[in-house]
């Protein structure tokens, strides 16, 4: 796959050229504007998140053009960056909600003045239809709905025009937040039904190209593979009316070109820029680098591989990994370190630094104590889709393990194949992994990455104790006195057993030139609603 290497080179070529002084082209302070141009490197392939095959970049349409019942509030991070706030649920289409005593029923009261773009009132029937669609469509939306405890249409009921009831099989702290993720968005069911056919009862064909919602923006133009144009919906009641009237989203695959565009000020927002560009542009433009919540770049050790069944081998590796070099070479220092933490687990912050740091002496001691004192051969697998961070990381690990007598061979696996071998078959002995959970609690991360047989548990970690602890913690409220002890115990096992060695917490980088108001979101898409000019 030479094109990937070339792209990486191309990015660095432009970055190298970037050292020259460009200051005379820094644009004059832009005045209040009502049109913003944003660029990003991915491509939007559908305007309907529920469709089979809709990619991650397309989720932004669900965010900007549709409303959910509830949303997340905003907060300022200690770094000064703005972020969504997982702990504050705010109304979007729902005016208020009540949770029953036993936690098994949530009743939503819809905003009486909420209308779809065509002027029709948003009713509980629309919500019911949309939620039914999400749990029945199959694929990703159905899986995500299940995380909140929603799996069947009979859990949703429209009590009257403005009252909507959700019934749960078990109380869960994940239910309400899971209604604020992009998936359960509310569709104008009258329009959708008109365009549904027998073969396509959920109007996937129609909504794929023609959104029908009530959101802050509507799509006025979509040239697939080129651009998407959002136009503000002035009668939006889901939140504060956005400041920008029109937002143009352009797709520019080349990182070097994106960089030139934002530096010249021809575009105001360059979303998801490479770490390297972020570190170089930081003193010239406004660059937001937010560590991605609940996301960890990790080195995974597969328990099926004999040497990794030896705890001393695992610890030897954890002490041999050159964390700082990896953080600098792969992430250009963007994100947050996850090594050198305290031995004592005092809080339940996650991702958290593990109490390991680069210490070749201790690595040698551990290996000498293990059954593999002479070292062994192992293959370190990486995904070709993620070479930008995985390749430098793998090379540094290879170099650091060589003195221990552990000979590492690096194997690059094509992106289309990665998921099958790494996550489904779980056959990779040693590999890099980047799971991040949408719902921001440690137990949710453990559910996907540490519980036995779960998809992202690519290390085949099978600890009955951790499995059980995760099950108990998953739906328990965070403020329950029993919660923190459970989580701390889970942490202790993860640190001791080391199926995944955390390397660092990656960052999402956004460069802005002539715009502000950026907020970080767990879904890693651009929410254009809070943006302002200049």
């Amino acid at each position: 796959m030479p094109s990937l290497d070339r792209r990486a080179f191309l990015a660095s070529a432009a970055a190298g050229a970037g050292v020259l002084p460009f200051l005379r082209f820094l644009p004059a302070q832009a005045q209040g504007r009502d049109t913003l141009v944003t660029v990003f490197g991915q491509t939007i392939n559908s305007l309907d998140l529920h469709r089979v095959g809709t990619n991650r970049a397309s989720y932004q349409v669900a965010i900007n053009c549709y409303d959910r019942l509830v949303g997340f509030g905003a907060k300022q991070l200690p770094s000064g960056e703005m972020s969504y706030d997982y702990d504050t649920i705010v109304p979007e289409l729902a005016e208020s909600w009540t949770i029953s005593e036993d936690g098994l029923a949530i009743t939503f009261k819809l905003k009486p003045n909420a209308t779809f773009w065509d002027g029709r009132k948003v009713t509980a029937e629309d919500v019911k239809w949309s939620f039914d669609r999400a749990v029945l469509a199959g694929g990703f939306p159905t899986t995500q709905m299940r995380a909140g405890g929603f799996s069947r249409p009979d859990q949703f009921e429209a009590l009257d025009e403005e009252t909507f009831l959700v019934k749960l099989d078990y109380p869960s702290k994940l239910s309400l937040p899971n209604l604020a993720v992009p998936v359960p968005f509310i569709i104008n069911s009258a329009i959708a039904r008109e365009n549904a056919t027998e073969a396509d009862p959920w109007a996937m064909e129609y909504l794929h190209t023609t959104p029908a919602g009530s959101g802050a923006y509507r799509v006025t133009r979509w040239d697939q593979g080129q651009q998407l144009v959002y136009e503000r919906n002035d009668s939006w009641v889901g939140g504060d009316l956005p400041a920008i009237r029109r937002v143009i989203v352009r797709e520019v695959p080349s990182a070097a070109t994106r960089r030139a565009l934002v530096e010249r000020g021809d575009v105001q927002v360059s979303f998801d820029i490479p770490d390297r560009d972020a570190s170089e542009l930081a003193d010239r433009l406004t660059v937001h680098s937010t560590p991605i919540e609940n996301c960890i770049h990790a080195l995974c050790l597969n328990t099926r591989f004999a040497p990794f069944q030896d705890p001393d081998v695992r610890k030897a590796i954890a002490f041999a990994v050159p964390y700082e070099s990896i953080f600098q070479a792969a992430a250009y220092g963007r994100g947050a370190p996850l090594w050198g933490g305290d031995e004592e687990i005092a809080d339940i912050a996650w991702p958290r630094p593990f109490p390991y740091a680069t210490d070749p002496e201790r690595a040698r001691e551990h290996l000498a104590r293990s059954g593999f004192a002479e070292g062994f051969d192992v293959t370190l697998s990486i995904s070709l889709d993620l070479v930008s961070w995985m390749e430098p990381t793998a090379l540094l690990i290879q170099e650091a393990l060589a003195p221990l007598g552990i000979t590492v061979t690096i194997d690059k696996i094509p992106g289309a194949n990665w998921r099958t071998v790494a996550l489904v078959d779980k056959t990779l002995d040693m590999h890099l992994e980047n799971f991040g959970g949408w719902l921001n609690t440690p137990c949710y991360y453990f559910f996907w990455a540490y519980q036995k047989d779960r998809l992202f548990n690519s290390s085949n970690y099978a600890s009955d104790v951790v499995h059980d602890l995760t099950d108990r913690a998953l739906h328990m409220p965070v403020d329950d006195p029993g919660y923190a002890p459970l989580i701390k115990e889970m942490f202790a096992h993860a640190i001791e057993d080391l199926p995944r060695i955390p390397l660092y917490q990656p960052a999402l980088n956004v460069a802005m030139n002539g715009a502000s108001g950026y907020e970080f979101w767990f879904h890693r898409q651009l929410d254009v609603r809070p943006l302002t000019g200049a």
């Binding site: 392939n45 089979v52 694929g139 080129q226 070109t257």
Partner: protein, 341 residues
């Protein structure tokens, strides 16, 4: 060219087995690729059940032979299937993306020929002179500089530093409205509706990517022109023509160049088909919504219908191109005729 209609038709009929071969091979090859589209499109969070649902929705749970016959039956009705990643019929995708690539490639080739052919002729006439050396430098540079690098340098100098070029944002800056689609070629469509302003807007966007591609294609054309001209100029008929006292211009253009054009046209055909598929990198750098990036994205996602559609479209294009080149041969050299074959 009287009476060429029938042989041309015969040539077209001859291409049918080729196309059938392409259909079979592209079908088998896409299935042989590593990667499972059902897994890919079910998304990272998918469960085995949701993957099975996706597999059934894509019709991939059927036996291969069954899938193949369904594909062929649809093909006969002009239906190339539906791309899963774009969610649109492949025919529609190709219809929007192929013209973008063709327009860029054609502009680049016209530009390239306008420079390379005179340069090659001059280099051959003044062999060893400064022009010959200039030709050699240009050719070496053109071949050795990868297109994405030339593209980035051009953007850096003409857009970033000098600010002469428009934003490298694809075929049309967003201040212009795209003309109604007739041919898909913006330069043609804008003129059809008489929108001169948009025409120039589209032309401005074309300049940098065309120059990038032209620099790359310059080399084979200039080299081939020079070589063919050298052998033509040393041929007996040129010596005879000179001895007969014909004007140097007539000797050069009528006698030598016309004979030298055959290999040049052959090269041109090869360069064209090669560049059309290979300008992915230029498309990426200039955010050009062309066929190359479409094919690469489809391949990465194991989007069978899109990959097959792309291969088939390229095969048809290639067949047509060969036909045109054969016809051009007959025009250039009357000794070559279809009826003679």
């Amino acid at each position: 060219m009287a009476g060429a209609g029938h042989p041309v038709l015969w040539r077209i009929v001859q291409t049918i087995p080729v196309l059938i071969g392409v259909v079979v091979v592209s079908f088998v090859l896409t299935r042989a690729l590593p990667g499972d589209p059902a897994v890919y499109f079910a998304g990272a969070m998918a469960t085995p059940e949701s993957i099975a649902e996706v597999r059934a929705a894509l019709g991939l749970d059927q036996p291969l032979v069954h899938q193949f016959f369904r594909y062929c039956a649809a093909l006969l009705q002009g239906d190339l299937g539906r791309s899963v990643s774009t969610g649109q019929p492949v025919v529609e995708d190709l219809a929007t993306r192929l013209p973008a690539s063709l327009e860029l490639t054609l502009c680049a080739l016209v530009l390239s020929c306008a420079v390379a052919i005179p340069l090659g002729i001059l280099a051959a006439v003044r062999q060893g002179g400064p022009i010959d050396h200039l030709c050699r430098i240009l050719v070496t540079a053109g071949v050795s500089l990868p297109t994405f690098f030339t593209g980035i340098v051009l953007i850096y100098v003409f857009y970033y530093l000098l600010g002469w070029a428009p934003s490298p944002l694809g075929r049309l800056d967003f201040v212009y409205l795209e003309p109604p689609r007739v041919t898909g070629f913006l330069l043609v469509d804008t003129l059809l509706v008489g929108d001169i302003e948009t025409f120039f807007g589209a032309a401005r966007q074309l300049i940098l990517p065309s120059v990038t591609l032209a620099l790359f294609t310059l080399a084979p054309i200039a080299r081939m022109t020079r070589a063919a001209m050298l052998s033509a100029l040393s041929a007996d008929y040129v010596r005879t023509a000179r001895a007969a006292g014909l004007a140097p211009r007539t000797v050069l253009l009528t006698y030598a160049l016309r004979n030298a054009l055959l290999p040049v046209v052959t090269t041109l055909g090869m360069v064209f088909s090669f560049v059309l598929g290979a300008n992915v990198l230029v498309e990426k750098v200039f955010a050009w919504p062309g066929i190359g990036s479409y094919a690469v994205e489809a391949l990465v996602a194991s989007d069978y219908a899109a990959v097959q559609g792309f291969v088939l479209a390229m095969a048809v294009l290639f067949v047509l191109l060969n036909l045109v080149i054969d016809l051009a041969y007959a025009l250039i050299d009357p000794r070559i005729g279809f009826s003679a074959k």
